[in-house]
Symmetry: C2
Subunit: 300 residues, 2 copies
């Protein structure tokens, strides 16, 4: 097998539709994944934060990923989330993704203990790499301190890249902090840096970044792709403004139920609204409200 290429572009952390019994609905999910690729996404991140990944068990996640590949989605376009709190389970999910041929994995640090040291986090990731022990492994670090509370500092990234230059190849920065993203882009020019907020997509590309992995790609993939393909054009700023409009409309809403509501509306499939606890599905009034804010009521 050849080494996977470094990923670039617009990636969707795919929403996970559920059946009434709260189990993941593979059929609706695979259809959604294929639609996103048809609509311009370069690739997918099954089991990111937007996917409610941490609300699913290890077996559920592995089963779903296998079904997606079996359904014909190229693993070369997949970067599944595989970072958990428990070392052996992170190793299990990561090995499974590599064996399926996934181009990369998106790795949360272990996130239960807070105020852990960079040394402890370095050892965590190093243990995963050594235990997986597969030269095809490509890790994209997942930095999302607003939710995980534990993240990758610049010093830690440096140490990981120095120790494992062929394995630790990129990052998704969901800090929401331009200064942090800017620091990563300028300190690690060869790194595949994805912005977790599409607000910074144009700036990220201008500084040589790899693209974006954003929840919004579930609902505005074409708009994001337009910007990605034309970031060097005169139009770029206007395309960024198109992208921004959607996030502004969603401001103040819990993002996962809001995005599921939008997909439910477009697919005329109210079951798409279901979320797994501890998230809470939007009621009819909230759904109507978010659709109006997004200017979607007259869309279909």
């Amino acid at each position: 097998m050849t080494a996977p290429s470094i990923l670039r572009g617009v990636f969707a952390p795919t929403l996970t539709p559920l059946k009434e019994d709260l189990s993941p609905d593979a059929d609706r999910w695979i259809a959604h994944c294929k639609r996103l690729l048809d609509d311009g996404c370069h690739g997918l991140v099954p089991f990111g934060t937007t996917s409610e990944a941490n609300s699913f068990g290890v077996e559920e996640r592995m089963d779903m990923l296998e079904m997606l590949v079996d359904a014909g989605v190229s693993p070369g376009r997949l970067m599944p989330g595989t970072g958990l709190c428990a070392l052996p389970e992170t190793v299990r999910l990561t090995s499974h993704a590599v064996e399926l041929g996934c181009a990369g994995v998106l790795m949360l640090p272990p996130f239960y203990y807070k105020d852990v040291s960079d040394e402890g986090l370095f050892c965590s990731i190093a243990e995963v790499i050594e235990r997986v022990g597969d030269e095809r492994l490509r890790i994209y670090l997942y930095h999302i301190p607003p939710i995980a509370q534990v993240g990758y500092s610049i010093g830690l990234i440096e140490r990981l890249v120095s120790a494992y230059p062929d394995v630790v190849v990129g990052i998704k920065d969901s800090s929401g902090d331009w200064n942090n993203l800017h620091n990563i882009l300028t300190n690690f020019p060869g790194f595949a840096t994805f912005t977790g907020s599409e607000r910074f997509l144009l700036q990220t590309l201008r500084l040589g970044g790899a693209g974006t992995i954003t929840a919004m790609a579930n609902v505005v993939p074409r708009t994001l792709r337009q910007l990605y393909d034309n970031w060097e054009s005169e139009n770029a700023q206007a395309l960024q403004a198109d992208v921004d409009r959607f996030r502004e409309a969603l401001a103040g809403y819990s993002p996962i139920p809001a995005l599921k509501t939008i997909v439910a509306f477009r697919q005329s499939d109210p079951g798409w609204r279901t979320v797994r606890p501890p998230l809470v599905e939007f009621d009819d009034e909230q759904s109507q409200d978010v659709l109006e804010k997004c200017g979607l009521c007259g869309e279909s």
Copy 2:
């Protein structure tokens, strides 16, 4: 089978010793558990925060618990931690504990998503109860906002107790906030309320609380038991002061490596110091330092 009794007393969230390969060491662990019971603990909480629970996989946790019961520790004295982020895994661990005959389980709320609503957390716990579907299930809520960041508000406790009065029977409050603990003790007089900090043990018992589940029980079980048994005596305040002395000595140290260092010293077994990443084992200098602070160097 008869219904389990409501638990009371001094409980140790047992430290988990590791082998060199970072796997849990069942032999050392069982010996430690039995020692704690011999030394005065009323019961044990395998796989609490102090146990590095969330750094272990579901299989590791189930295997260890079975070995402990097989080794002769009565499940009637056990309240294993079973709350994870992923609903099916919380159900699996909880069912397993109930089937083993454990008197209760200590349940973290799902802790990945932050700022979740009480409604979402209620649904999470309700789903677990319905899916386990066993009338022997007794849940002790685990409120530890400094680490989990997600916790049980007074309103949520009220709702859970109203909906499941025979199942949701107690709480461990590790908020470190006396006002919160006081609110729980006064709002829910029939509830088995354990303080997560032994600093509040005397006050908790005076207000009718159930006892304490504290990391310190791994190292000063007798002192804690003394206070528990004599809280109504003239001596009680002095006994509380004895208890407090140990925590004060440990102030500023990362608690899990510090406690493992103390057990390693007492057992003349340096391997006891090992922790699983993201935690970091104390080096010789830190170890020496913590032992001196605790006045332990001349102990054995």
